[in-house]
Amino acid sequence: MTDIAAIEIPRVEGLGIELILPATIKLTGMITKNGTNPDLAGFFRTVHGDAISRGLREVFVDVSRLTFVNSSAIRLFIDWASWIKNDKAPPYILRFVTSRRFTWQQTAFAALTSLMKDVLVVERVD
């Protein structure tokens, strides 16, 4: 079993990643660079596995200061929610912490919620 704080954080230009116990990932900045997605996808996979192994009921992903992303990054959030949804018994809830200041968050997470509302929750900080 790993500990979220022990998970290796990938270095992605323009993006800040912070792991906060017990179960929060805070993403700040932007995700726009071509070719960074495999690193991020692997990181999200590791967090996903860690959450299952620790029996977490919720994982928080704070994107409220993630100001802009490309559609490939949005794809990563879709994939993550799909991993949970496709499990026979969804192991935990993915809780996105968002800001209404950034249009991409409103549109992307509304669409994601409409498809996977049983495995994710979207909350706003402002």
Partner: protein, 164 residues
């Protein structure tokens, strides 16, 4: 190679840029587009829409550009006071033009929000395939309609037009 549009009308805010199809340029051009739209039109919301349109349109153009020496990209931003138009001209491989035309035709069968959600659904069901969210995102989040125009020499211009 296409020619630069007429920029002589001072009442028509216009940007024209020509550059090699390189990933490294996209961030800088997107942020200039944000600055230009926010400064010219004074609306942060429009600046965010511009970022989406520019990012996704340029990523698409860079990804599918041919290796020809004539494959430079052109970006134009202009407005008539009521509407704003972003267009990106590129020289893609022929197969991409067909895919682009088919994707846009499929998009037009749905309103922008429906098409956006449908693109999410497709992505969730095809985890090993390319995301193909960009055009739906441009329409919905960018608040624009898309059209494509084939030009001389195999170039294609993708135009996104919406309200200011």
């Amino acid at each position: 190679m296409s020619t630069a549009p007429n920029t002589s009308n001072p009442l028509r805010p216009m940007v024209f840029m020509r550059f090699r199809p390189a990933w490294a340029y996209i961030d800088g051009i997107r942020e200039f587009g944000r600055f230009f739209c926010e400064t010219t039109f004074g609306t942060p919301a429009l600046a965010q829409r511009a970022c989406v349109v520019i990012q996704e349109a340029l990523e698409n153009a860079v990804k599918y550009s041919s290796n020809s020496p004539d494959s430079e990209l052109e970006l134009v931003i202009q407005s008539d006071g009521d509407r704003i138009e972003f267009s990106v001209s590129s020289l893609p491989d022929a197969a991409h033009i067909e895919r682009l035309r088919a994707e846009l035709a499929q998009q037009r069968t749905l309103d922008p929000e429906q098409a956006y959600v449908a693109a999410f659904l497709r992505a969730s069901k095809e985890p090993s395939e390319s995301a193909r969210l960009g055009l739906a995102r441009i329409r919905y989040e960018g608040g624009v309609e898309l059209s494509i125009h084939e030009q001389e020499g195999g170039r294609v211009r993708v135009t996104a037009t919406g309200k200011l």
